[in-house]
Symmetry: C2
Subunit: 173 residues, 2 copies
Protein backbone atom coordinates (compact mmCIF):
# COMPACT_ATOMS: atom_id res chain seq x y z
CA UNK A 1 0.00 0.00 0.00
CA UNK A 2 1.43 3.33 -1.04
CA UNK A 3 0.82 6.19 1.30
CA UNK A 4 2.12 9.52 2.42
CA UNK A 5 4.81 9.54 5.11
CA UNK A 6 2.90 10.80 8.13
CA UNK A 7 6.04 10.92 10.30
CA UNK A 8 7.00 14.31 8.85
CA UNK A 9 3.63 15.83 9.78
CA UNK A 10 3.83 17.95 12.93
CA UNK A 11 0.60 16.61 14.42
CA UNK A 12 1.03 14.05 17.22
CA UNK A 13 -1.97 12.10 15.94
CA UNK A 14 -0.43 11.74 12.47
CA UNK A 15 2.88 10.65 13.97
CA UNK A 16 1.16 8.19 16.27
CA UNK A 17 -0.66 6.66 13.30
CA UNK A 18 2.58 6.47 11.39
CA UNK A 19 4.21 4.38 14.11
CA UNK A 20 1.51 1.80 14.61
CA UNK A 21 1.42 1.22 10.87
CA UNK A 22 -2.02 -0.21 10.24
CA UNK A 23 -4.85 -2.34 11.61
CA UNK A 24 -2.88 -5.56 11.88
CA UNK A 25 -0.32 -3.83 14.05
CA UNK A 26 -3.03 -2.55 16.39
CA UNK A 27 -4.60 -6.01 16.64
CA UNK A 28 -1.17 -7.56 17.31
CA UNK A 29 -0.72 -5.06 20.15
CA UNK A 30 -4.20 -5.96 21.41
CA UNK A 31 -3.19 -9.62 21.49
CA UNK A 32 0.10 -8.78 23.20
CA UNK A 33 -1.95 -7.12 25.98
CA UNK A 34 -4.01 -10.31 26.15
CA UNK A 35 -0.79 -12.17 27.00
CA UNK A 36 0.25 -13.57 23.63
CA UNK A 37 3.96 -13.57 22.86
CA UNK A 38 4.58 -16.20 20.18
CA UNK A 39 4.26 -16.16 16.43
CA UNK A 40 1.85 -19.07 16.31
CA UNK A 41 -0.37 -17.52 19.00
CA UNK A 42 -0.70 -14.30 17.02
CA UNK A 43 -1.27 -16.24 13.83
CA UNK A 44 -4.01 -18.37 15.33
CA UNK A 45 -5.72 -15.37 16.88
CA UNK A 46 -5.61 -13.18 13.79
CA UNK A 47 -5.88 -15.66 10.92
CA UNK A 48 -3.19 -13.62 9.18
CA UNK A 49 -0.80 -14.78 6.44
CA UNK A 50 2.64 -15.67 7.92
CA UNK A 51 4.54 -13.23 5.69
CA UNK A 52 2.27 -10.35 6.71
CA UNK A 53 2.54 -11.28 10.38
CA UNK A 54 6.35 -11.41 10.11
CA UNK A 55 6.44 -8.01 8.48
CA UNK A 56 4.11 -6.45 11.08
CA UNK A 57 6.01 -7.96 14.02
CA UNK A 58 9.28 -6.66 12.55
CA UNK A 59 7.70 -3.23 12.12
CA UNK A 60 6.53 -3.17 15.74
CA UNK A 61 10.03 -4.20 16.90
CA UNK A 62 11.64 -1.51 14.72
CA UNK A 63 9.33 1.22 15.98
CA UNK A 64 10.09 0.22 19.57
CA UNK A 65 6.66 -1.15 20.53
CA UNK A 66 7.71 -4.80 20.94
CA UNK A 67 10.96 -6.44 22.00
CA UNK A 68 12.13 -9.74 20.50
CA UNK A 69 13.54 -12.37 22.87
CA UNK A 70 14.93 -15.66 21.59
CA UNK A 71 13.61 -18.49 23.75
CA UNK A 72 14.96 -21.39 21.72
CA UNK A 73 18.22 -21.64 19.81
CA UNK A 74 17.72 -24.83 17.73
CA UNK A 75 15.50 -24.15 15.90
CA UNK A 76 15.59 -20.39 16.56
CA UNK A 77 12.29 -19.25 18.10
CA UNK A 78 11.48 -15.82 19.44
CA UNK A 79 8.82 -14.28 21.56
CA UNK A 80 7.61 -10.71 21.44
CA UNK A 81 7.01 -8.61 24.54
CA UNK A 82 5.58 -5.12 24.93
CA UNK A 83 8.12 -2.38 25.64
CA UNK A 84 7.15 0.55 27.91
CA UNK A 85 6.17 2.50 24.76
CA UNK A 86 4.03 -0.42 23.66
CA UNK A 87 2.50 -0.71 27.15
CA UNK A 88 1.64 2.97 26.95
CA UNK A 89 -0.52 2.29 23.85
CA UNK A 90 -3.07 0.78 26.23
CA UNK A 91 -5.08 3.99 26.55
CA UNK A 92 -5.61 4.10 22.77
CA UNK A 93 -6.83 0.50 22.81
CA UNK A 94 -9.16 1.17 25.75
CA UNK A 95 -10.58 4.20 23.90
CA UNK A 96 -11.11 2.07 20.76
CA UNK A 97 -12.60 -0.69 22.91
CA UNK A 98 -15.10 1.67 24.55
CA UNK A 99 -16.08 3.35 21.28
CA UNK A 100 -16.45 -0.01 19.52
CA UNK A 101 -18.61 -1.27 22.37
CA UNK A 102 -20.86 1.80 22.22
CA UNK A 103 -21.47 1.71 18.49
CA UNK A 104 -20.64 -1.57 16.77
CA UNK A 105 -21.93 -4.37 18.96
CA UNK A 106 -25.61 -4.59 17.97
CA UNK A 107 -25.93 -8.02 19.58
CA UNK A 108 -24.50 -6.73 22.86
CA UNK A 109 -20.98 -6.54 24.24
CA UNK A 110 -18.68 -9.55 24.07
CA UNK A 111 -16.33 -8.03 26.68
CA UNK A 112 -16.74 -5.37 29.31
CA UNK A 113 -14.68 -3.72 32.00
CA UNK A 114 -16.28 -4.21 35.42
CA UNK A 115 -15.67 -2.87 38.91
CA UNK A 116 -14.42 -5.89 40.87
CA UNK A 117 -16.17 -4.82 44.11
CA UNK A 118 -19.57 -3.72 42.84
CA UNK A 119 -19.82 -5.54 39.51
CA UNK A 120 -20.79 -2.21 37.90
CA UNK A 121 -19.78 -1.96 34.24
CA UNK A 122 -17.14 0.75 33.82
CA UNK A 123 -17.57 3.50 31.25
CA UNK A 124 -14.09 4.75 30.32
CA UNK A 125 -13.71 8.52 29.97
CA UNK A 126 -10.66 10.75 29.67
CA UNK A 127 -9.79 13.20 32.40
CA UNK A 128 -6.75 15.21 33.42
CA UNK A 129 -4.42 13.05 35.52
CA UNK A 130 -3.65 15.74 38.13
CA UNK A 131 -7.14 17.14 38.74
CA UNK A 132 -9.38 14.29 37.48
CA UNK A 133 -11.48 16.93 35.71
CA UNK A 134 -13.07 16.01 32.34
CA UNK A 135 -11.16 17.46 29.39
CA UNK A 136 -13.86 19.86 28.23
CA UNK A 137 -13.86 23.49 27.07
CA UNK A 138 -13.83 26.14 28.47
CA UNK A 139 -12.06 24.54 31.48
CA UNK A 140 -9.37 23.22 29.13
CA UNK A 141 -8.07 24.58 25.86
CA UNK A 142 -5.71 23.52 23.06
CA UNK A 143 -2.59 25.68 23.03
CA UNK A 144 0.54 25.71 20.86
CA UNK A 145 3.46 23.72 22.29
CA UNK A 146 7.13 24.75 22.28
CA UNK A 147 7.62 23.18 18.82
CA UNK A 148 4.50 24.67 17.18
CA UNK A 149 4.97 25.49 13.51
CA UNK A 150 3.06 27.99 11.35
CA UNK A 151 0.53 25.35 10.31
CA UNK A 152 -0.25 24.43 13.93
CA UNK A 153 -0.59 28.10 14.89
CA UNK A 154 -3.00 28.66 11.99
CA UNK A 155 -5.13 25.68 13.01
CA UNK A 156 -5.31 26.80 16.62
CA UNK A 157 -6.18 30.39 15.66
CA UNK A 158 -9.60 29.51 14.17
CA UNK A 159 -11.99 31.36 16.51
CA UNK A 160 -14.47 29.34 18.53
CA UNK A 161 -12.67 26.09 17.75
CA UNK A 162 -11.43 23.88 20.51
CA UNK A 163 -10.22 21.14 18.23
CA UNK A 164 -10.45 17.88 20.11
CA UNK A 165 -12.03 19.35 23.21
CA UNK A 166 -15.81 19.20 23.56
CA UNK A 167 -17.59 21.99 25.40
CA UNK A 168 -18.90 21.13 28.83
CA UNK A 169 -22.40 21.07 27.34
CA UNK A 170 -21.46 17.78 25.72
CA UNK A 171 -21.04 14.41 27.41
CA UNK A 172 -17.38 14.22 28.50
CA UNK A 173 -14.91 12.15 26.48
Amino acid sequence: MQRKDFSVMTCPIARALDRVGEWWSILILRDAFAGMTRFDEFQKSLGIAPNILTSRLNGLVESGMLERHQYNAHPPRSEYRLTPKGEDFRSVLVALFAWGNRHFMPDGATMQIADTQTGQIADPIMVDRATLRPLTAPEFTMIPGPAADANTLRRLAIPGRQGLLPTNQVTPL
Copy 2:
Protein backbone atom coordinates in the same frame (compact mmCIF):
# COMPACT_ATOMS: atom_id res chain seq x y z
CA MET B 1 -5.54 -2.75 -0.34
CA GLN B 2 -6.93 -6.19 0.24
CA ARG B 3 -7.61 -7.09 3.80
CA LYS B 4 -9.64 -9.29 6.05
CA ASP B 5 -13.14 -8.11 6.96
CA PHE B 6 -12.73 -7.12 10.61
CA SER B 7 -16.44 -6.41 11.05
CA VAL B 8 -17.20 -10.09 11.57
CA MET B 9 -14.70 -10.33 14.42
CA THR B 10 -16.37 -10.26 17.81
CA CYS B 11 -13.84 -7.89 19.37
CA PRO B 12 -15.01 -4.26 19.73
CA ILE B 13 -11.51 -3.04 18.85
CA ALA B 14 -11.51 -4.96 15.56
CA ARG B 15 -14.97 -3.64 14.71
CA ALA B 16 -13.98 -0.10 15.61
CA LEU B 17 -10.96 -0.35 13.31
CA ASP B 18 -13.16 -1.72 10.57
CA ARG B 19 -15.41 1.33 10.66
CA VAL B 20 -12.82 4.05 10.58
CA GLY B 21 -11.19 2.32 7.62
CA GLU B 22 -7.61 3.58 7.65
CA TRP B 23 -5.30 6.47 8.54
CA TRP B 24 -6.78 8.97 6.11
CA SER B 25 -10.19 8.49 7.66
CA ILE B 26 -8.80 9.17 11.13
CA LEU B 27 -7.01 12.31 9.93
CA ILE B 28 -10.20 13.50 8.18
CA LEU B 29 -12.05 13.06 11.48
CA ARG B 30 -9.25 14.96 13.26
CA ASP B 31 -9.71 17.84 10.78
CA ALA B 32 -13.50 17.71 11.21
CA PHE B 33 -12.93 18.24 14.95
CA ALA B 34 -10.69 21.19 14.05
CA GLY B 35 -13.71 22.76 12.32
CA MET B 36 -13.16 21.79 8.70
CA THR B 37 -16.25 20.88 6.69
CA ARG B 38 -15.42 21.35 3.01
CA PHE B 39 -13.66 19.20 0.47
CA ASP B 40 -11.03 21.82 -0.36
CA GLU B 41 -10.26 22.40 3.32
CA PHE B 42 -9.62 18.71 3.90
CA GLN B 43 -7.61 18.48 0.73
CA LYS B 44 -5.42 21.44 1.63
CA SER B 45 -4.86 20.14 5.14
CA LEU B 46 -4.04 16.57 4.15
CA GLY B 47 -2.34 16.96 0.77
CA ILE B 48 -4.37 13.95 -0.35
CA ALA B 49 -5.35 12.99 -3.92
CA PRO B 50 -8.94 14.12 -4.71
CA ASN B 51 -10.13 10.61 -5.64
CA ILE B 52 -8.82 9.18 -2.36
CA LEU B 53 -10.39 12.03 -0.39
CA THR B 54 -13.74 11.47 -2.13
CA SER B 55 -13.63 7.76 -1.36
CA ARG B 56 -12.71 8.31 2.30
CA LEU B 57 -15.40 10.98 2.79
CA ASN B 58 -17.98 8.65 1.21
CA GLY B 59 -16.83 5.85 3.49
CA LEU B 60 -17.18 8.04 6.59
CA VAL B 61 -20.68 9.09 5.47
CA GLU B 62 -21.66 5.44 4.82
CA SER B 63 -20.40 4.29 8.20
CA GLY B 64 -22.36 7.06 9.90
CA MET B 65 -19.43 9.16 11.15
CA LEU B 66 -20.06 12.21 8.92
CA GLU B 67 -23.24 13.72 7.46
CA ARG B 68 -23.29 15.35 4.03
CA HIS B 69 -25.15 18.66 3.67
CA GLN B 70 -25.47 20.41 0.32
CA TYR B 71 -24.72 24.11 0.77
CA ASN B 72 -24.79 25.11 -2.89
CA ALA B 73 -27.03 23.79 -5.66
CA HIS B 74 -25.32 25.19 -8.82
CA PRO B 75 -22.67 23.90 -8.88
CA PRO B 76 -23.49 21.22 -6.29
CA ARG B 77 -21.23 21.63 -3.24
CA SER B 78 -21.48 19.72 0.02
CA GLU B 79 -20.09 20.05 3.46
CA TYR B 80 -19.40 17.27 5.91
CA ARG B 81 -20.33 17.45 9.57
CA LEU B 82 -19.65 15.05 12.43
CA THR B 83 -22.59 12.91 13.52
CA PRO B 84 -22.97 11.99 17.23
CA LYS B 85 -21.14 8.73 16.48
CA GLY B 86 -18.36 10.73 14.83
CA GLU B 87 -18.27 13.17 17.78
CA ASP B 88 -17.90 10.20 20.07
CA PHE B 89 -14.65 9.24 18.30
CA ARG B 90 -13.04 12.18 20.13
CA SER B 91 -11.77 10.04 23.00
CA VAL B 92 -9.82 7.82 20.57
CA LEU B 93 -8.24 10.90 18.99
CA VAL B 94 -7.37 12.37 22.39
CA ALA B 95 -5.75 9.05 23.37
CA LEU B 96 -3.76 9.01 20.09
CA PHE B 97 -2.88 12.69 20.62
CA ALA B 98 -1.55 12.06 24.13
CA TRP B 99 0.39 8.94 23.14
CA GLY B 100 1.87 10.69 20.08
CA ASN B 101 2.90 13.63 22.25
CA ARG B 102 4.58 11.36 24.79
CA HIS B 103 6.61 9.35 22.30
CA PHE B 104 6.96 10.89 18.86
CA MET B 105 7.65 14.59 19.30
CA PRO B 106 11.43 14.65 19.91
CA ASP B 107 11.53 18.39 19.19
CA GLY B 108 8.78 19.08 21.73
CA ALA B 109 5.02 19.26 21.47
CA THR B 110 3.38 21.28 18.71
CA MET B 111 0.03 21.26 20.52
CA GLN B 112 -0.97 20.67 24.12
CA ILE B 113 -4.13 20.64 26.20
CA ALA B 114 -3.94 23.22 28.99
CA ASP B 115 -6.03 24.08 32.03
CA THR B 116 -7.56 27.48 31.22
CA GLN B 117 -7.36 28.71 34.82
CA THR B 118 -3.91 27.55 35.87
CA GLY B 119 -2.15 27.11 32.53
CA GLN B 120 -1.06 23.65 33.67
CA ILE B 121 -0.57 21.19 30.80
CA ALA B 122 -3.18 18.42 31.04
CA ASP B 123 -2.16 14.77 30.96
CA PRO B 124 -5.13 12.76 29.64
CA ILE B 125 -5.82 9.47 31.43
CA MET B 126 -8.78 7.12 31.33
CA VAL B 127 -10.97 6.59 34.36
CA ASP B 128 -14.39 5.17 35.07
CA ARG B 129 -17.06 7.81 34.41
CA ALA B 130 -19.12 7.06 37.52
CA THR B 131 -16.36 6.73 40.12
CA LEU B 132 -13.46 8.62 38.45
CA ARG B 133 -11.20 5.71 39.53
CA PRO B 134 -8.32 4.73 37.22
CA LEU B 135 -9.09 1.61 35.20
CA THR B 136 -6.50 -0.65 36.79
CA ALA B 137 -6.54 -4.23 38.08
CA PRO B 138 -7.45 -5.55 40.59
CA GLU B 139 -10.04 -2.77 41.14
CA PHE B 140 -11.40 -3.43 37.64
CA THR B 141 -11.48 -6.58 35.57
CA MET B 142 -12.38 -7.66 32.03
CA ILE B 143 -15.51 -9.81 32.03
CA PRO B 144 -17.51 -11.50 29.27
CA GLY B 145 -20.47 -9.45 28.02
CA PRO B 146 -23.94 -10.75 27.16
CA ALA B 147 -22.83 -11.57 23.60
CA ALA B 148 -19.55 -13.31 24.50
CA ASP B 149 -18.65 -16.16 22.16
CA ALA B 150 -16.37 -19.15 22.80
CA ASN B 151 -13.32 -17.29 21.52
CA THR B 152 -13.91 -14.37 23.89
CA LEU B 153 -14.45 -16.73 26.81
CA ARG B 154 -11.20 -18.52 26.01
CA ARG B 155 -9.27 -15.25 25.86
CA LEU B 156 -10.67 -14.06 29.16
CA ALA B 157 -9.97 -17.38 30.89
CA ILE B 158 -6.16 -17.11 30.64
CA PRO B 159 -5.13 -16.94 34.33
CA GLY B 160 -3.40 -13.80 35.55
CA ARG B 161 -4.32 -11.90 32.40
CA GLN B 162 -6.23 -8.67 32.61
CA GLY B 163 -6.04 -7.91 28.91
CA LEU B 164 -6.17 -4.18 28.48
CA LEU B 165 -6.15 -3.38 32.19
CA PRO B 166 -2.82 -2.60 33.84
CA THR B 167 -2.29 -3.54 37.45
CA ASN B 168 -2.31 -0.67 39.91
CA GLN B 169 1.47 -1.03 40.17
CA VAL B 170 1.67 0.55 36.74
CA THR B 171 1.07 4.20 35.86
CA PRO B 172 -2.66 4.46 35.11
CA LEU B 173 -3.83 4.68 31.50
